[in-house]
């Protein structure tokens, strides 16, 4: 299958790559670009482990074809921390022990980031509703919800 040349922006950086039209964004991120922070859980849009932002919109990257990102902005987990500091969401996830195996964590953090960009002061129910597209099997979600609410409070003050 001949490859297409795609030019896009990932975490603010101009990136270009070659891909087959059948390859998902998830596959290109992980296998082509070495950005393995975005995880694969089911590859059919049901677990949210592959959540990224595409032009600020929360998407499952397993359901986006890589060619669709041409000229767009992609945000992945790798773009959140600064060289010296974790993002408040990352910090709060650690403080609240909101991760056990950690495989769902990048997806949850990206989803929470998208939520807080839209709704900086969500209620517990709103957080649960927004994050229902992300599955976690280890934590039972309790500490994840607490971490997101705490991060929201911290980000609000800043």
């Amino acid at each position: 299958m001949p490859k297409v040349h795609v030019q896009t922006r990932i975490n603010g950086e101009e990136i270009d790559f070659l891909c087959e039209t059948r390859q998902s964004l998830l596959e290109i991120l992980r296998d082509e670009l070495g950005l393995t922070g975005t995880k694969e859980g089911c590859s059919n849009g049901n677990c949210g482990a592959c959540s990224v932002l595409l032009d600020g919109v929360l998407v499952d990257s397993c359901l986006v074809l890589a060619v669709e990102t041409a000229g767009k902005d992609v945000s992945t987990i790798e773009g959140l921390a600064t060289p010296s500091q974790l993002h408040p969401l990352q910090q709060k996830f650690l403080e609240h022990a909101a991760l056990q195996c950690g495989i769902c964590t990048p997806g949850f953090i990206m989803a929470a980031k998208a939520l807080l960009a839209k709704n900086p002061k969500p209620t517990e129910h709103e957080v649960r509703y927004w994050l229902a597209g992300n599955l976690c099997r280890c934590t039972g979600y309790d500490k994840i919800i607490r971490a997101v609410l705490d991060a929201a409070a911290v980000m609000e003050k800043a």
């Binding site: 677990c47 056990q100 099997r137 039972g140 309790d142």
Partner: protein, 768 residues
């Protein structure tokens, strides 16, 4: 932030885990993230039939597809011996394990592997699968335990005969094993009972549902050495099982455990590793395989569906006088369900003088079952805890009072024989009785509150820990327990406590088979307990060595002052004279002589050389874990949907090293139990195909399905561990299904005898 108790400086606090930054930034390398130069992608061809003979496999067209570098079948594997070996947590039949990894002459479940391809891209590998031609002779399939036990059932295995009460027989059957445990005289017990209840229960096949699929990357070097990278609960299990299947010495197999995205017992046995290895050898390149979600459901190790009969008899005063149970578990395509554990757990929360429990391990045309958190116990508790609830109701007793009256204590005997050591069951019942949740009113129609208890043994098993002292007084701790839920932290905390140094000064590393001594799986509720034990012992070894060196140093200083005098012996400084507390060594015979841990570390080179503490552990004194859960539900009478309004999980944890991670284990296990109770099941069609092989229809709980999960950590320190640790990881999954069933009963007046209690089932019960 919790503070250390008066007793401990580190234990009981909630520090950030050492691998935390890696995991929240996405930098941590899980098995699926592995990349090696020249790496190929592998895919596995799996049977479309639940039961069939393989008449021929033709791989020529697949091999010819450009980009394909190797195709393998059972022909590329050694012929496996029919013998039992100890290859991990349990004794395993090598032939059966190998046949599950790759089918030889029969496929025994839809999804059973029979060939594999390595190619330059996963897409090409997938295309190649479609070019492999297989001729099958389809055979009738048997898809549930009761059908499989019938005389006329199709048999899965030529040579499988029933082991009847410990004795191998000649009877060819799908019943691999019938076991029995007895205590006292159940027949007399039932005659003495005032009320007897007998009920039947059914549970469906359920998957552990870890979000990360199985993966394996193999490099079979030209020098004959096999390197494996995999997400596993136990690198040494992978090493041993792969070596056995491939006919290699373990010294030829190096396993590096990557970070792992959940296991719960399902990532212990090998599936992909031997296949990746053989593909690597044949292609001459590294090969990575990752399962798709469909393969996860169809071809890994779910937990057994089961049929369970429970009969219990009580006297009017509430004493349970007799109990009987018959547990029939689906083992899947090969024998080895956890029915034994189910039998040994089912009545364990109670002191019952007369019991008989029968267990049947039965093969069916479904994937071979594997462990799932307290394997075998959840099915059993669903049955027994529901019957106890019904008995309490008939007696007019509060269900927790029923448990208080009959609860197991130290010295009480289990049905399999041994008596309990110091345990904390009654403490969990009292904590539940006194909890605000239990006292709070539950108003409104269609609402109900249920309780249930559960027991799990926990295991000890083997761990190795090495602690290397750095010149700045920090230490590197090397261990072999893959960190699935925060154990780097809980193990480092125990070492820090024993060494008397700050938690931040302990740098834990998880090593593979080349880097650390034998360590059993992360699982079985053993890691914080047994690897922590080894960390404690290794820390004592470090301190012992430091004391020896200080004794020599301080004694040599005394030498200068007392040359040739008779009092020499009485002033000689031995290691026993060196005391240690809070980071400072002090000489008992001369308090002016002190040295800090940091100073000793800085001077190691001039005091005898590097200091490395080491210990292996295979602890006794495990004790077992108990839990009691309380749940409030609301049932929608129109849709049958059950909402969880409130959940409290109470558990005896011995001592919580890192309370957040102990809570996390309880919350996670409870929620898996809620999923098991309400929605999760393998839905099979009539030809043995699982119809719901995606997370859309294999419905696990989401954030929207749950409230916060409250936990109560009851601490009855385990006398068998230096810090009182009891394993916590598994027992939380034991009570929830029964607790939810009992709550639904109180909300609807209908007893649940089937799990999951999905909306359709509940509606059918409401409309009875």
């Amino acid at each position: 932030m919790a503070e250390a108790t008066a007793e401990y400086k580190v234990i009981g606090t909630r520090p950030i885990r050492p691998d935390g930054a890696d995991k929240v930034t996405g930098r941590a390398i899980y098995g699926g993230d592995m990349r090696l130069t020249g790496m190929l992608h592998g895919k596995v061809l799996r049977s479309p039939h639940a039961h069939a003979r393989i008449k021929s496999i033709n791989t020529a067209k697949a091999e010819a597809l450009p980009g394909v570098k190797a195709v393998v079948t059972a022909q590329d594997f050694p012929v496996a011996e029919d013998r039992i070996a100890n290859l991990g947590e349990m004794a395993v039949n090598v032939k059966l394990l190998s046949n599950n990894v790759i089918a030889v002459d029969k496929v025994l479940y839809k999804g059973h592997a029979l060939a594999a391809v390595a190619a330059t891209s996963s897409h090409i590998a997938e295309e190649a699968l479609g070019l492999i031609e297989v001729e099958y002779e389809v055979l009738p399939a048997v898809l549930n335990v009761l059908d499989a036990m019938k005389e006329e059932a199709p048999l899965l295995h030529e040579h499988l005969t029933t082991t009847e009460l410990g004795q191998k027989t000649d009877k060819r059957s799908n019943i691999a094993n019938h076991m029995r445990f007895t205590l006292g005289d159940p027949a007399q017990g039932f005659r003495d009972a005032d009320i007897v209840i007998e009920r039947d229960f059914d549970t469906a096949t359920v998957h552990q549902g870890y979000i990360e699929p199985h993966n394996a990357t193999a490099l079979w070097n030209e020098d004959g050495h096999l390197y494996l990278w995999t997400s596993t609960q136990g690198a040494f299990v992978v090493q041993r099982q792969t070596a056995e299947i491939l006919g290699l010495s373990v010294s030829k197999v190096s396993v590096t455990p990557c970070e792992i995205g959940g296991g719960f017992g399902g990532k212990i046995a090998v599936y992909l590793e031997p296949v990746a290895a053989v593909l690597s050898r044949k292609s001459g390149r590294p090969v990575k395989l990752i399962m798709s979600r469909i393969e996860e459901f169809e071809a890994t190790g779910p937990t057994p569906a089961s049929h369970i009969k429970v009969k219990m008899g009580v006297k009017k005063d509430g004493q349970i006088v007799a109990a009987e149970a018959s547990l029939m578990y689906e083992a899947g395509a090969f024998p080895g369900s956890p029915v034994g554990a189910g039998c040994m757990c089912i009545f364990s929360p109670y002191a019952i003088p007369n019991m008989q429990v029968d267990g049947y391990d039965v093969v069916v045309n479904k994937p071979k079952t594997a462990a799932y958190r307290a394997p075998g116990a959840t099915n059993a508790a669903f049955a027994s805890e529901t019957v106890i609830d019904e008995l309490a109701e008939k007696l007019g007793l509060d269900p927790l009072d029923m448990r208080r009256l009959n609860g197991a204590k130290e010295g009480d005997r289990r049905v399999d024989g041994p008596t309990f050591p110091r345990i904390g069951y009654m403490e969990t019942v009292h904590a539940a009785l006194e909890h605000e949740h239990y006292a709070s009113p539950l108003h409104g129609p269609n609402r109900g509150r249920g309780v249930a208890s559960g027991f799990w043994f926990n295991v000890g098993f083997q761990s190795t820990v090495v602690i290397n002292v750095n010149a700045d007084g920090t230490v590197s701790l090397v261990e072999g327990s893959t960190d699935i839920g925060g154990t780097r932290a809980s193990i480092a905390m125990q070492a820090a406590e024993t060494l008397g140094i700050p938690y931040e000064d302990v740098r834990p590393t998880v090593a593979g088979t080349d880097g650390i001594g034998f360590t059993d799986v992360t699982g079985g509720s053993r890691t914080t307990f047994a690897t922590g034990y080894a960390a404690h012992e290794a820390s004592l070894d470090v301190l012992r060595q430091m004391k020896e060196r200080l004794a020599r140093r301080w004694d040599s200083e005394v030498e200068k002052e007392f040359e040739g005098q008779a009092e020499r012996a009485s002033v000689q400084i031995t290691p026993d004279d060196v005391l240690y507390a809070s980071g400072v060594f002090k000489c008992a015979k001369d308090p002016s002589k002190t040295m800090t841990f940091k100073d000793v570390s800085a001077q190691m080179a001039r005091m005898g050389g590097p200091i490395t503490g080491r210990a292996t552990s295979q602890p006794r004194g495990i004790g077992g874990a108990f839990a009691t859960h309380i749940v409030d539900v609301e049932v929608d009478p129109e849709t049958g949907k059950v909402a969880i309004l409130r959940y409290t999980a109470i558990q005896d944890v011995g001592r919580a090293i890192h309370p957040s991670y102990a809570e996390g284990q309880i919350q996670g296990g409870a929620v898996q139990g809620i999923g098991w109770a309400l929605n999760e099941e393998y839905v099979y069609n009539t030809t043995g195909n699982m119809a719901n092989t995606s997370f859309l229809d294999y419905r696990m709980p989401t954030t929207l399905d749950l409230p916060m999960i409250d936990t109560v950590l009851v601490e009855v320190p385990n006398p068998g561990h230096p810090y009182g640790v009891r394993g916590v990881g598994e027992v939380p999954i034991v009570p929830p299904v029964a607790a939810v069933a009992n709550a639904i009963y109180r909300a609807t007046g209908k007893r649940m005898t089937q799990a999951p209690m999905s909306p359709g089932y509940i509606l059918s019960k409401l409309n009875e």
